[in-house]
């Protein structure tokens, strides 16, 4: 009970912050970084469902991101469809492909699954680059007309900022209710001990596939938002580096915790921009920090938070079970 209200308190705080920031700082560049952060919150929440809750490692989230982005972009640009349809197609397509890729999790675990998803992400990018006629090849698709809801078009960055964060907020709330529901508990049971879960009547195949579909759909939504935020889509943005970033954000923020993605996305996105003064050394320092994080903060920020919980007398049974184990 106490934990619920604490999470709620933080979430509300973040919402207020998000709403107020653009009114305090009228800086386009800053808004742009924050909008990208919003997209990543959605992407990382998707990975959180897969890895944090269900214990399935995926290095191919960028693949679903790309599918959603191109699906919506193509539908709107070539067929003149409205945004809502583009979004729906993005969700549908990435969901279906998520289901197919999810089938590999039936037989594979840990590093093997990671490799297959990595291959998947790479292949999606290769297809986007080579299927010139459909995707515009390496150049991508440009000049996609502004979208919106009916007559109301979203044309300014500020409008997109609020749109993205509204959708991100909804997704976080949805995920939270999933986490607390029977589905969430089934996922976490599968993460801990498959045999025990099966004995309790949880079908691993069903729930793993569900986790894949949910995370793929989230990524697809983020993809559609990406395309229309930029008015263009190109394969450059959907490489292995992106998938790695998503993983990084999740682990840094705290895998398995609902607020982990928010913390992780905020810290990494803003942090990377803060590293700019390093100039040539930016990526080097980035790599170094990832390694440091793996050694000293494997549980991420929310993990640190959880460890502090005994400080205020809360001994939640959940404590023991939120460590990650392979599975």
């Amino acid at each position: 009970m106490v934990k619920k209200s604490r999470n709620g308190f933080v979430f509300l705080g973040v919402l207020i912050l998000v709403a107020l920031v653009p009114l305090i700082w009228d800086n386009y560049y800053f808004l742009s970084v924050l909008s990208t952060t919003g997209l990543y919150i959605i992407l990382v929440t998707g990975l959180n469902v897969l890895l944090g809750y269900t214990g399935l490692v995926s290095l191919g989230q960028a693949g679903f991101y790309a599918i959603g982005a191109y699906a919506s972009g193509l539908l709107v640009a070539k067929a003149g469809a409205p945004f809502v349809l583009g979004l729906l197609l993005a969700m549908l397509l990435s969901g279906v492909i998520g289901l197919i890729i999810g089938l590999s999790s039936v037989r594979l675990r840990g590093g093997y699954l990671a490799m297959v998803t990595l291959g998947f992400g790479t292949v999606v990018q290769i297809i986007m680059i080579n299927w010139d006629d459909l995707t515009g090849g390496a150049e991508g698709i440009w000049g996609i007309p502004a979208v919106g809801f009916g007559q109301l078009k979203i044309t300014t960055l500020l409008a997109w900022y609020y749109t993205i964060f509204s959708i991100a907020g909804l997704i976080v709330l949805l995920t939270y209710s999933l986490e607390k529901s029977r589905i969430g508990r089934a996922w976490m049971a599968l993460r801990e001990d498959v045999a025990a879960a099966q004995m309790m009547g949880i079908n691993p195949v069903h729930y793993r596939l569900l986790a894949f579909v949910v995370s793929a759909v989230y990524s697809g939504i983020a993809g559609a938002l990406f395309t229309h935020l930029n008015g263009s889509v190109f394969p450059d943005a959907f490489g292995l580096q992106t998938s790695i970033m998503i993983l990084m954000m999740l682990i840094l923020g705290g895998s398995g915790h609902i607020l982990g993605p928010i913390m992780g996305a905020a810290i990494v996105n803003v942090g990377f921009e803060i590293l700019r003064p390093f100039g040539n050394y930016q990526s080097l320092v980035f790599g170094f920090l990832i390694v440091l994080m793996a050694i000293f903060m494997p549980q991420g920020f929310m993990g640190l938070w959880r460890r502090l919980a005994p400080l205020w007398g809360e001994h939640s049974l959940k404590q023991a079970s939120t460590d990650q184990t392979p599975g």
Partner: protein
């Protein structure tokens, strides 16, 4: 007591996030200055185009220091603000946004791939009305879509293909052509070349593609070998092109290798060894050009940086000299309020640049298009060195 601790931890975390936001905001405040002329530069200091980006940055730093030592432009100091983009388009756009919005630069330069330049045009410089000069970038579309604020200080693929095709067909009498190209970064050049060939009445007998970073081309080359072409057009950057050349010779193919500006680097010869002998290519700049202007530039660059300048460096040199000229011409207010007006003034002053003799050649922004150069040399690898076989007339 316990409740207090709990809330204080929450408060601490929220404050951390707040502090980060403050930091960003503060850096925005610090970045504002009153009287200097600010040039923003997006370049690749890491990633696949790093070798180009670093040379550009060298020249910019060298010339900005020079002009400041001589008292600036009309008395105002010049400040160059450089941002790395790791040769990734998304980062290029972010860097451009930062320079334009946070640093409030008067003019933007750079980006090392056509995709990045296009992205910056579409998302930053055209809507925000900022004059933008790029020193590389060959995609013809960069100046063909009605861009109002962009100046291309390099050779469009359209201009690169004319003289080399003419030379290949009429001087070397090559009849059958095959092509292998980098689909990830040079498909615009490949298209332009193919169209150029069509205009000369020639259709490709075989086409293969690879992507940047590939090292093995045997599969594509074996297929091409079956059609036994006189010439193989290799479109990509130097390392891959050199790899192709080596593997072409290994497979026993005798085709003449033809390339565009992107392969005319000493690197191509260093990497390709004996296999690249006889390659012909279109070129913009040659460091051994006896023209005294060129030699002065080459000497200056070599003495400062211990390496020979390539065409990215040369194009940057010309771009900056021309920009300085425009800056001297323009009436600049150089206050925060005058930013938009200043940018317009600079853009207009740039459009007046005609008939400038740069180290790369004859430079003009207009009247036909915003392409600085439209003529190329043809060079050939002879005795392990790039030699001019046809000059740019």
């Amino acid at each position: 007591m316990k409740k207090l601790r709990k809330h204080s931890v929450t408060a601490i975390c929220l404050s951390a996030v707040l502090l980060v936001c403050l930091g960003l905001g503060a850096s925005h405040v610090w970045a504002q200055e009153k009287s200097p002329i600010k040039i923003g530069v997006v370049y690749s200091s890491s990633g696949s185009q790093a070798h180009t980006g670093l040379q550009e940055a060298n020249v910019i730093k060298m010339l900005v220091d020079e002009v400041n030592a001589a008292g600036g432009i009309n008395g105002h100091p010049v400040r160059a603000i450089l941002e790395n983009d790791d040769t990734q388009t998304e980062k290029s756009v972010n860097a451009a946004k930062k320079l334009v919005f946070s640093n409030k630069v008067h003019v933007l330069m750079g980006a090392n791939t056509s995709s990045a330049i296009k992205a910056i045009q579409q998302q930053v410089t055209e809507p925000q009305k900022v004059p933008y000069i790029s020193m590389v970038g060959s995609d013809p579309a960069l100046t063909k879509l009605g861009q109002q604020w962009y100046f291309r200080n390099s050779l469009s693929a359209d201009y690169q293909t004319g003289s080399i095709i003419d030379y290949a067909v009429n001087v070397q009498k090559l009849k059958t052509f095959a092509m292998i190209f980098d689909a990830a970064s040079a498909s615009d050049q490949a298209k332009a070349f193919e169209e150029g060939l069509k205009k000369a009445g020639i259709t490709l007998v075989a086409k293969g593609q690879f992507k940047t970073g590939d090292t093995s081309f045997n599969a594509q080359l074996l297929k091409i070998k079956q059609t036994n072409p006189d010439a193989l057009v290799t479109i990509g950057v130097a390392p891959e092109a050199a790899g192709v050349a080596k593997q072409v010779r290994d497979l026993g193919m005798n085709a003449r290798i033809i390339g565009l500006v992107a392969i005319v680097y000493d690197e191509y010869i260093a990497l390709g060894g004996s296999a690249v002998e006889g390659t012909i290519a279109a070129s913009a700049f040659r460091a051994d050009n006896p023209d005294p202007n060129v030699q002065a530039f080459v000497k200056k660059y070599k003495s400062k940086f211990n390496e020979s300048p390539d065409h990215a460096a040369a194009q940057t040199y010309d771009a900056l000299q021309v920009l300085f000229k425009a800056l001297r011409d323009a009436k600049l207010g150089l206050t925060d309020d005058a930013l938009a007006a200043d940018r317009t003034q600079i853009r207009d002053a740039l459009t007046r640049i005609k008939d400038y003799n740069g180290v790369v050649g004859h430079l003009s922004y207009g009247p036909k298009d915003r392409d600085a150069y439209d003529k190329t040399l043809v060079v050939e690898v002879k005795g392990g060195k790039w030699t001019v076989v046809k000059s740019a007339k």
